[in-house]
């Protein structure tokens, strides 16, 4: 498939929601993809087909339906392994989403490996899901949480990391591969290289990166990696945690229950093999199947083509928005270092007011702190408006957004 605008426009027909109108008969201009993405028929149909034709519980029963359900569920694990280049499918654990993945690590790895006086390092541009679990853990263990600072271009100040690593107390460094507010793409390989030299494991929050660019876990060399299905055309309530086998072997279970056990006796239990040791209870089978369909869909387009499409849109949007008087864009303007996420403020108008006024034009942008209050504090703003792009967005969407800002200017007499 060629990465031309027209071939991407052709994809729009796969997304039934894009045909609807909102408010006063306005076409939907959906620009909140960093929050969640819309679903193509291929994904919706896969879930329906699962419930209509194959629904059964997995891994135990011997009848035909159960075999089909198990096969559908497990085949997604293989698709994930191919999609982000994982060698061993046993390292892939299905979870509800990135938030649960990070909490799983904080609980099942952190409670064994973090002790009093230890340090966990995160960054100033993390989502709350990569801050709060570590606050809970460090408070419980009397350990310390430190932050890699961010410069005014929205890039991490890696000298901070050097300083923390030199203390010899760091037990984990955790960061997002792409900021959900600024779109900054983290120099992950550099961070991992420093951490490896210090013998410190690394966790990557891949929620914003995996849907938008080629990610290769073997190339990255981290120890934990998490991402969510719903930000990459898949259903809500399903996500992935990958943990390096040698690390996974040192972790205690997360939830106790069915499927995660080998033998249960009155007072003791032995654990199932990986990854099932970490997948207690009946999992979200239908949505795992849906995620598999989403991966098929993205693979067919090609992640490099998707990245190229978004670079084109982001470049166009930054150019157009930069021409709007009084509009401030946050983060780097170096397209190579950012994904398709643009946070901005328009003069002194509060982002909620911007979002509400342009909602009348059918435009869906996010306004608020984007679950990144530490970053908002660093930027010294209460909130921002955020437009974020995906495969079905067009330059016309951006034109509609830019034009709608005229209405905002008129209302607020800018």
């Amino acid at each position: 498939m060629q990465s031309t605008q027209s071939s991407f426009e052709n994809l729009r027909k796969d997304f039934p929601i894009l045909k609807r109108t909102v408010r006063d008969n306005k076409h939907l201009v959906y620009l909140d993809n960093a929050s969640t993405t819309q679903k193509p028929n291929q994904v919706i149909d896969a879930i329906t087909d699962y419930y209509q034709n194959h629904n059964a519980n997995i891994h135990r029963a011997v009848y035909a339906l159960a075999e089909e359900a198990t096969e559908a569920y497990e085949s997604t694990r293989d698709k994930i392994a191919n999609f982000v280049n994982i060698k061993d499918r046993q390292e892939i654990i299905f979870v509800r989403g990135t938030t649960e993945a990070i909490n799983l690590v904080a609980y099942a790895w952190g409670r064994t490996h973090i002790n009093e006086g230890d340090v966990i390092v995160t960054t100033e541009y993390e989502h709350h899901s990569n801050i709060v679990p570590w606050q809970l853990l460090t408070q419980e263990k009397h350990a310390k949480l430190e932050y890699i600072g961010m410069d005014d271009d929205g890039e991490l100040i890696l000298e901070d990391l050097d300083k923390y690593l030199a203390s010899g107390k760091v037990k984990l460094v955790t960061f997002s591969l792409m900021s959900n507010v600024l779109g900054t793409i983290t120099d992950a390989k550099k961070i991992i290289e420093k951490c490896k030299a210090a013998g410190v494991p690394t966790l990557i929050d891949g929620a914003q990166a995996v849907p938008h660019m080629k990610v290769d876990l073997q190339d990255l060399g981290c120890d934990f990696f998490a991402f969510s299905g719903h930000k990459m055309l898949g259903p809500t309530g399903i996500g992935v945690l990958w943990v390096r086998k040698t690390v996974l072997d040192t972790m205690s279970p997360f939830h106790g229950g069915g499927d995660m056990i080998r033998e249960v006796h009155k007072y003791e239990t032995t654990w199932n093999d990986l990854p099932y040791k970490f997948e207690a209870g009946t999992p979200n089978i239908a949505d795992v199947v849906g995620l598999g369909a989403a991966i098929d869909y993205l693979t067919k387009i090609g992640m490099d083509n998707i990245r190229e499409h978004e670079i084109e849109l982001t470049k166009y949007a930054i150019e157009k928005l930069s021409n709007v008087k009084g509009l401030q864009i946050y983060g780097t303007k170096d397209i190579a270092k950012r994904g398709g996420v643009i946070s901005f403020n328009f003069a002194d108008v509060h982002p909620h007011d911007v979002a509400q006024i342009i909602d009348e034009e059918g435009i869906a942008v996010r306004s608020g702190h984007h679950c990144a209050q530490v970053l908002m504090e660093r930027l010294n703003v209460a909130a921002t408006s955020r437009a974020s792009f995906y495969i079905y967005n067009t330059k016309e969407d951006i034109d509609i957004l830019v034009n709608s800002l005229n209405t905002v200017a008129k209302v607020f007499k800018l």
Partner: protein, 147 residues
């Protein structure tokens, strides 16, 4: 109301641009702070209270136009009122003043944050000065269930 954007009429925009009673009272008799966890709006209210009357009130904080306009109007309504009258201020006293009676659910918390802060400030004061715990509990409940 034909359109949600109609809420951005002259009065709202003017109040948000030039808020009334904006600032701090250093020698306040009571102060209270609250915020909306989802949108990050954040309001503080300071009050001077004499002889069971609000003799001065100021607010400060960050918020959208709806939040700032409603906070302004609320402080105007409150100033000079007896504590009993402040207690009786209702949602619609604020909303109707600005034509926001039909505000959509997602924005109502912007409009009523300052009222929640005001009521919380009031019960804080009453709790400290009147020692009538039954009254305070009732007010607390009232403030918590505002929206």
């Amino acid at each position: 109301m034909s359109s949600n954007a109609d809420i951005y009429h002259e009065m709202i925009v003017d109040y948000s641009r030039n808020p009334v009673n904006y600032g701090k009272i250093e020698d306040h008799d009571v102060t209270f702070h609250d915020s909306n966890p989802l949108c990050g709006d954040s309001i503080d209210i300071d009050m001077k209270i004499d002889d069971n009357k609000v003799t001065d009130i100021k607010f400060h904080g960050k918020g959208c136009a709806i939040c700032m306009a409603c906070s302004s109007v609320l402080t105007e309504i409150t100033k000079g009122k007896s504590l009993e009258d402040v207690r009786n201020i209702e949602k619609n006293d604020v909303l109707s003043e600005l034509g926001l009676e039909h505000l959509q659910a997602v924005r109502i918390k912007c409009a009523l944050l300052s009222l929640k802060v005001l009521k919380s400030a009031l019960y804080t004061y009453i709790g400290k000065h009147l020692e009538n715990s039954e009254d305070v509990d009732k007010l607390k409940e009232e403030a918590a269930n505002l929206y």
